[in-house]
């Protein structure tokens, strides 16, 4: 079966697109799926860092598009996951070096022989976004439970619908259940009421995600981490498997109780 193209986008920067791309790619590859990640954020490449592959880059996306190398040469294999590949972004060029039709051509070449092609979209609504969305079969919109991120997600959903790629799926990243309980953070319900698209998963806020990203080992590979579990669940749901949503509240309460038992510094 030819690969499905999943584009991860958000409109706003800094909500966790690249983290989500790396983790979903890792979760899919950990299941044995053949995955290619394309970093479409030309000029501001990051995905190679999060996947821990920076020092292996020889060719990049622009080299492929401009014919300086074959696609195979630009695909970097992941250290632990032999079915995960990355096509990194160019750092010294800008978004206009690639066109939407280049991306469609590249993806149609990659579809055979792979299961998933993940495209990490740059922030914004301009050329880079259109490059990332052009070849996609499924668009995943990442947002944080904050008014500015939700507003931009709403805008991007409108643009995705206008490109006739909709309706996209939604991932809420960095949810803090304690803040939601105190009424200091938008709840998933508030976000869904406004955006009115299908929710594919909620990733709780977790310091460990940042630590793992800095180390270049996606948190989805940590079997004990809850944020990692959330990413693995999303990867399952994207493949069409029904996975019940985690009860973030109860987990928090349990951890709180546990830490009280262990040292009383909840």
């Amino acid at each position: 079966m030819p690969a499905k193209v999943l584009t991860i986008t958000s409109g706003k920067g800094g909500v966790g697109k690249t983290t989500a791309s790396a983790n979903l790619a890792a979760a899919l590859a950990a299941e044995g799926k053949k995955v290619v990640c394309i970093d479409a954020d030309i000029g501001l490449r990051n995905l190679d860092l999060i996947l821990g592959l920076e020092n292996r880059i020889v060719y990049d996306l622009v080299d492929v598009v401009e014919g300086r190398c074959r696609v195979r040469q630009a695909m970097i294999r992941h250290k632990q996951l032999p079915t995960l590949f990355l096509i990194p972004a160019a750092q010294t060029r800008d978004k206009t070096s690639v066109s939407p039709s280049d991306m469609i051509r590249l993806c149609s070449e990659l579809r055979e022989g792979h299961d998933w092609i993940l495209i990490d979209s740059p922030a914004g609504i301009e050329r880079g976004f259109r490059n990332a969305v052009a070849p996609s079969d499924i668009v995943l919109v990442v947002t944080n439970p904050e008014v500015s991120a939700v507003r931009d997600a709403d805008r991007i959903i409108g643009l995705i619908e206008a490109e006739e790629k909709g309706p996209p799926r939604l991932m809420i990243n960095r949810l803090n259940p304690e803040m939601v309980r105190r009424g200091e953070m938008l709840s998933p319900r508030d976000v869904l009421e406004l955006l009115a698209i299908d929710l594919v998963g909620i990733v709780p806020e977790d310091e460990y995600v940042v630590m793992a990203s800095n180390r270049g080992i996606p948190v989805a590979l940590d079997p004990k981490n809850h944020a990692g579990q959330a990413f693995r669940n999303i990867a399952r749901r994207l493949q069409g498997h029904p996975v019940p949503f985690m009860d973030l509240d109860r987990k928090d309460g349990f951890l709180g109780r546990l830490s009280r038992m262990l040292g009383g510094k909840a």
Partner: protein, 225 residues
């Protein structure tokens, strides 16, 4: 002078009115008129208003037969005379115009129906960054999200949550209104007035906003208004 004969179309066919005067002359005039319009009246259902003429069975029977020979079908005889009515009934003819069925009459709606004003129906949610401008009334089936904008020269009706910016009566129409199932716009303008509604708390209710004495007023959207 020959009695007056008038032919006009009614719901059930043709109504022929025979003016006063001696019946034989009136009858001759009637036949003449009908002969002249034979092609027009052929096959028609006839209601004959004989006014004050008093007709007995022989006369009315002859009349019916003659009309039948002319290719028309006499169905009803209207008369001011009870004798004529009785005669007609004895010949199996109707004596009253059938009343129209009440349910078939279009009941005029009890509103100000203004025909000919342009309007559009938008069957989608307007998301952030979307601007809809229209020279007329706008009905949106869906939400207007924050960051979206609707500008209409007429009124704006939102069958959903209104949270963006709306401007009704944008070309100065102070009669324009804005209504929504949940009216909590970022900013609401009607004609030249701008209002920033207070933050809504609790369950949103359908509301309507309009201008009264140059002020934007929002009230519960009540059909009985």
């Amino acid at each position: 002078m020959a009695p007056d004969i008038r032919i006009k179309g009614i719901r059930d066919g043709l109504l022929i009115t025979v003016g006063d005067g001696e019946w034989p002359r009136a009858q001759t005039a009637l036949f003449d008129q009908m002969q002249q319009r034979a092609s027009f009246i052929h096959g028609a259902r006839i209601t004959l208003d004989v006014g004050n003429h008093i007709l007995h069975a022989a006369e009315l029977g002859k009349l019916r037969d003659t009309l039948s020979e002319m290719g028309v079908n006499l169905q009803i005889v209207l008369s001011n005379s009870p004798i004529t009515e009785t005669t007609a009934q004895s010949l199996g003819l109707g004596t009253r115009l059938s009343k129209p069925h009440p349910e078939r009459i279009a009941r005029p709606l009890d509103t100000n129906v203004r025909e000919g004003e342009p309007g559009i129906l938008v069957h989608r949610t307007l998301r952030s960054g979307y601007k809809l401008e229209y020279p007329g009334h706008v009905t949106i089936v869906g939400d207007v999200n924050p960051g979206a904008e609707v500008v209409a020269s007429g009124s704006i009706l939102v069958w959903g949550r209104l949270r963006g910016v709306v401007h009704a009566g944008a070309e100065g129409n102070e009669e324009a209104f804005v209504c929504a199932l949940a009216l909590s716009p970022t900013q609401l303008r009607i004609a030249g007035q701008i209002a920033i509604p207070p933050q809504h708390t609790g369950t949103p209710k359908p509301e309507i906003a309009f201008l009264r004495d140059g002020q934007v007023i929002a009230e519960p959207w009540d059909v009985k208004r």
